[in-house]
Symmetry: C2
């Protein structure tokens, strides 16, 4: 199998490495020539772009949102027109189910397959080939994508035989993830008003019914005052925005999503957009006159 | 050791059984004479109330809230005046840290010890002696309570040498638990608007970063349409109310707590107060014109 991977950010670079480890010749494509060179140095294909695209069996798109995905696929230098008939586009960004369905249809008209394949797991798991992928698409799309999926993922949820359900499940996951991060920040700072230090809240609640995957993962960031961006505040401004847009279209009232989005928006507006998403705690702390660990 | 347990509801009855299994002679006290008789039939003490209170080393109070706790301890027929000097009151309801501190002081004036000891774990774990107890109190109170704690709890978090931190941690836990239940309902019903059935959301998200203890526990109730009350909607009306009251006093802005409380209030107002707390999903579904599993 030959593949191209478009988007060599923290997720895409790791996924590209996993493709290489899986024995798949893979060209790395990015807007940054430095990242492209870095990927070649790690064993990436040396084949010129046009030639690699023309021979690729799969194109993995790992960009930030639907607009970038559209640009990569259909823009001026778009890859869809360059892929061979029967190639599969494995699309990873968090997008609306409607976007996934439209893109599947648009690519089908061009003789291309589409796998609706949002990812979960973070950059470390990306590089270890241990992502979770929430996938849906035609059986032919799954078949064409299989070697790449096997190389990149520990778990592939097969959620349906057309695009849409994969993206729907990812959006459901992001609703919960965003609410849980904001809830962790709310609970930890609330505890501070009652004299409970963040480290103690994290230690105890992690073993109690109030815990969540996000509480256990992000709580220690707040307790340590470490906002190194594993996943940034801006990601949840974007993803809870997608949830909100879909909910509005569906006439679905989502009050927790709305409240959490406002907290992430405030964090971004206050200048913390590029920090770890746990920095939403800074809004709670500032609003309550609290001093978080790591602050003066 | 001799003990009395006051409040033989689903938690208290099980905790009383655990005390008996631990070899502690225990009198069960309840406003219901039937429940008192049922506890005696399970091996509870046959000693008359006044005599049992006068000889008890520990009194475990398992009522619903601070008002009931006050009534049990200091009301017309209150137990505090009947306990011997040095006996310890192990207080389990979810109360404010301020209430816990005040009660510790009030009992100290009467020569009694107080352990701030909210519980977590549900009725099954209560009967198996496997609760988590979030405890704080004077070293003498811990020492006096130890045999009873060993009988009732799998895990005792020792959170400080005075009343307050135990209740604070429990309230932090309830903030998260309530928000997570409402978030689970929000996410599962949101998924339904995108064509994803609840059972599939529960299956997939339980293995993803969007999961929480409450999602994994309550999600299946929604998927099965089973609202048998393991813990009722009214419990979170109460507990998120306690969180809100404390937050207001502390001038702490808690938007997720506020949003979740409104959903539980709507569920109670719509007639679901005695159903399982997962019935908060019925508000989301009604507001979006969705039909949940188990509904016509």
């Amino acid at each position: 199998m030959n593949a191209v991977i478009v988007g060599l950010g923290s997720m895409g670079f790791g996924m590209g490495l996993s493709l290489l480890k899986g024995g798949i010749e893979t060209l790395g494509v990015d807007i940054s020539k430095e990242r492209e060179a870095a990927f070649r140095e790690q064993g990436g294909s040396q084949t010129p772009r046009e030639e690699a695209l023309a021979s690729a069996d799969a194109a993995v798109v790992v960009v930030v949102n639907a607009a970038q995905s559209d640009s990569v696929l259909f823009g001026e230098d778009g890859i869809a027109a360059r892929l061979k008939p029967g190639a599969v586009v494995i699309n990873s960004p968090t997008v609306s189910p409607a976007y996934a369905r439209e893109t599947e249809a648009r690519l089908a008209e061009m003789g291309l397959l589409y796998l609706d394949a949002p990812i979960s797991g973070g950059s470390v798991k990306a590089a270890q080939g241990q992502l979770s992928i929430m996938a849906s698409g035609r059986p032919e799309a799954f078949a064409a994508a299989r070697p790449a999926l096997d190389a990149m993922a520990e778990t592939v949820f097969e959620l349906g035989d057309a695009a849409g359900p994969g993206s729907a499940m990812k959006v459901i996951n992001q609703l919960l993830a965003g609410v849980h991060i904001a809830a962790a920040a709310e609970a930890i700072t609330f505890g501070m008003t009652q004299g409970v230090v963040p480290a103690k809240t994290v230690e105890v609640i992690s073993k109690c019914a109030g815990s969540s995957w996000m509480f256990e993962n992000r709580g220690p960031h707040i307790a340590a005052g470490d906002y190194t961006p594993h996943s940034a505040v801006e990601i949840f401004v974007k993803d809870l925005g997608i949830v909100s847009d879909i909910a509005r279209t569906a006439r679905f009232s989502a009050p927790l999503t709305a409240a959490a989005l406002q907290q992430f928006l405030a964090a971004a507006g206050a200048g913390h957009g590029r920090e770890d998403d746990a920095a939403v705690a800074k809004i709670y702390a500032r609003n309550a006159g609290l001093t978080l660990p790591g602050e003066e």
